[in-house]
Amino acid sequence: MLNIFKLAARNLFRYKRRTLLTSTLITLGVVSVLLFISISGSFKALMVGQITDSMLGHIQIHKKGYLASIDSLPLNRNLTGKQIDKVVQVLAEEDAVEAYSMRIKLGAMFSNFIETTNIRLNAVTPTDEMKTAPLLTDRILEGEKENLLKAGEILIPELISKGMKVKVGDGIVLVANNKDGSVNGQNFMVRGILEGISGPGGRDGMIHINDAKSLLRIEAAEVSEIAIRLKDIYLLPAVFTSLQEKLGSMKNKQGMPVFEVHTWEKISPFFNIAKMIDLMTFFIKIMLVAIVLVSIMNVMVMAVYERINEIGTIAAIGTLPNKILSLFVVEGFLMGVLGTAVGTTISLISIAIMNATQIRFDFGRQTGLLLSPTIGATDVIFVVVIVVAIAVIASLQPAWKAAKMDPITALKHV
């Protein structure tokens, strides 16, 4: 084996410029793919993190049919006593669950005593909410961030603060219809201004869950949604399947499903962007494969053509066809390995440099996001294996041509 490698390497070295050019092309391809994967991956993780950690949580549980009518914030589709107990019991069995938060979602009239507007509200237990959405407090633009809020306080969305000219410390009134249609009002103090983000619930205000209950005159246990945070987002598929089995399949006496379980992906529009990024990564990988295939095949076809006479010689003196085949395949393989090794090295160094220089970027209203590109070993191994495999595959056809060459014809070739 060693001698085949030696011979192949010598032949590559004989056409230095060509080898260098082809390897450089492969290097460029590998670098673009690895950098794209790492940067888009970091961007994706960052955006997903923002969405799940400051608002949605990883998984949400509602009463069946709630999500379809979420725009009208229905109060008659809340989870009640026994249903909540069931969810709590199931969640206690899941080791991967880090925290969960019970929320009542409601619509109300918001008045600053001069003007009135509509407001959507998310009523929470502050300690649970902060554990479930740890980045939520980052969205508080003005006002005290610590402990989120107390009963009697409200976090108002940025838009309302601007539109109604309401500042931190101002008193306001919320008026809401309860399930039966009776109206109730309650005074609140503006505790802070909440930054809006895209997606459902991204422009909601926030109050304490006990205030929501008294405003809506809810006596028994009742929540609109249960948001769940997992210990790691990679556990999402497994936990989702498990919850789907335990809760999603539960039927009531009429044989209708009781709960609906959704992942953040189903709820947030950003999931489509994330999917788009994955699709782009896929196409860039395809392009890499094409580059490697075409460049290696091109070079190997030339290599075989230039060496017809040599092939005739070694075939005549008894070199077996499959050895001739491997001679050329190994040449393609080595070129692939060279390009990939250099490309991977450059990529890893670039990623390290990018992390060291702390590149920041803006996305929508969010500024100064830290780009921290990372690349998993599996991604690197995948790219390396694909490129080297394609290099070998691309050499097979020319190599096979060389192997089955008739020695007499090859020797006559000038």
Binding site: N3, L7, R10, T313, I314, A315, I317, G318
Partner: protein, 234 residues
């Protein structure tokens, strides 16, 4: 036992509608350790005959035995194996592998065709290089040596596997007279030393005097035989 036995050997090329009878029913045999040349004008069939003996081209009809084995119906793989084991080749254009040194070129058949162990291989290569007087050029590449030196290296490569038979198609055509004679004398010397059979083709009158057995080919027929036994008139 003869190294080569040919009986009623025929080679016909078919190119479209035209049939070219390159070799027409020839009979001959070649004895071990002989020094044989096929001579004849261009197109008389020398190369065709040598290619058949060398297991590179199957005969159209007739019997052909090399090293005691019928080689008329070997497949590609077995023909290659047979060549690697029994036959050495010396080419008109030397055909050394340009990316290998003289030493590595001679080593090639022992490593890539047969698989000799390292020590034994190196020793054998050095022995052959010394025999052809190329030991001091061992580390040079083919591009760094003269034509005569290349052909000497090629002779060493042909002999290194202890081949019973070395075939050389016009081995001196690209050499000047002096060098040509030197190469022929080297081959003869090798024959004496290793008892190898040398068969070559030539239409070079300068070296015809130097050979021992001469078959004359004319338009595919072997019609003259000189100096020795072991052949037949066609």
């Amino acid at each position: 036992m003869s190294v080569v036995v040919a009986e009623q050997l025929i080679k016909t090329y078919v190119a479209g509608d035209i049939k070219i009878e390159a070799i027409r029913k020839v009979n001959f045999s070649i004895e071990p350790a002989s020094f044989v040349s096929f001579i004849g004008p261009s197109g008389s069939g020398k190369t065709t005959l040598l290619n058949m003996i060398g297991c590179l081209d199957p005969p159209t009809a007739g019997k052909l035995q090399v090293a005691g084995q019928d080689i008329t119906s070997l497949n590609r793989q077995n023909a290659a194996r047979f060549r690697g084991e029994h036959i050495g080749f010396v080419f008109q254009d030397f055909n050394l592998i340009p990316v290998l040194t003289v030493f590595e070129n001679v080593e090639y058949p022992l490593q890539m065709v047969q698989s000799w162990p390292n020590e034994k291989r190196k020793k054998r290569v050095m022995e052959m290089l010394e025999a052809v007087g190329m030991a001091d050029q061992a580390r040079k590449y083919p591009s760094q040596i003269s034509g005569g030196q290349k052909q000497r290296a090629a002779v060493a490569r042909a002999l290194v596997t202890n081949a019973k038979l070395v075939l050389a198609d016009e081995p001196t055509a690209n050499l000047d007279k002096e060098t040509a004679n030197m190469v022929i004398n080297l081959m003869k010397q090798m024959r004496d030393e290793y008892k190898t059979t040398f068969v070559f083709s030539t239409h070079d009158p300068r070296i015809v005097d130097n050979v021992e057995i001469t078959f004359v080919l004319d338009d595919g027929t072997l019609h003259k035989l000189e100096k020795s036994a072991g052949g037949d008139h066609a």
